[in-house]
């Protein structure tokens, strides 16, 4: 683990929170550099069951400007935490998604595989507790529920 300074020339962060479908072809994203020997990705997908209920779809709500800033902060922190260079792409959907649709994509490039795995894991775990994004589940029995989450308040 490194606590050094980011090498600006070897860092690229690309974040977007929007209604746009997540294109799997983003694997061709140009965040790659010759110094990067490892890539890792994470896809979050809407699943069909949660807390014992059959899920039909999930509606994502987001405070977009703060969510995108938070995700950029997380990406930069992660690059610093596990090295000094890397590329991070994050896409997060808003709006209504059916079971099987991709809600979030994280793609990282780093010099070595250890930091690629660690950085990808760091970004998704921090996203889940820090990004101002919410989800409302729609169930097959007609019920709906805003899911409980992690408080952001600062005292």
């Amino acid at each position: 683990m490194s606590t050094g300074k980011i090498r600006e020339s070897e860092v690229m962060i690309d974040v977007r929170v929007s209604e746009d479908p997540i294109e799997l072809s983003l694997h061709g994203w140009t965040g790659y550099q010759p110094a990067f020997g490892a890539s890792n990705s994470f896809f979050g997908v809407v699943r069909n069951r949660n807390h014992g209920k059959d899920v039909l779809s999930v509606s994502y709500d987001a405070f977009v400007p703060l969510a995108e800033k938070t995700l950029r902060d997380i990406a930069e922190e992660g690059i610093l935490k596990f090295g000094s260079s890397g590329s991070v792409l994050i896409r997060h959907r808003t709006g209504n998604l059916k079971v099987g649709e991709v809600s979030v994509l994280i793609l990282v490039h780093t010099p070595h595989r250890d930091e690629a795995f660690a950085l990808c894991r760091y970004v998704i775990e921090e996203l889940k507790v820090r990004a101002p994004i919410w989800k409302k589940e729609f169930y097959t029995n007609g019920e709906t529920d805003w899911l409980k989450g992690h408080a952001l308040c600062r005292h």
Partner: protein, 92 residues
């Protein structure tokens, strides 16, 4: 003359209590609210008056934010900032 009621953007479960544009208007004016704590007290009072069925204790877990940052509870509110109330988050 009293200042107009403050309008705030809300998200998540709080959208159940907002207007169609995702905003809630408090009776308190901006001039009455000096700090984040003042705002939260006014927000709780609004819910107790208009939506007594909502557990106002959950509002204590909500954060107040601008487009750039989460605000601390003892922080002064700046005129001109558009404010948002953020319930606990669960993205991904």
């Amino acid at each position: 003359m009293n200042s107009p009621g403050i309008r705030v953007r809300v998200f998540g479960v709080l959208r159940n209590y907002s207007d169609d544009s995702g905003m809630i208007t408090l009776s308190a004016g901006r001039d009455d609210l000096k700090t984040v704590r003042d705002f939260k007290n006014a927000f709780i009072a609004h819910f107790k008056e208009h939506f007594p069925e909502y557990d106002s204790g959950e509002i204590e877990d909500c954060a107040l934010a601008t487009e750039n940052e989460i605000l601390h509870s003892n922080e002064a509110l700046l005129v001109g900032d558009e404010l948002a109330v953020l319930p606990p988050v669960c993205g991904g």
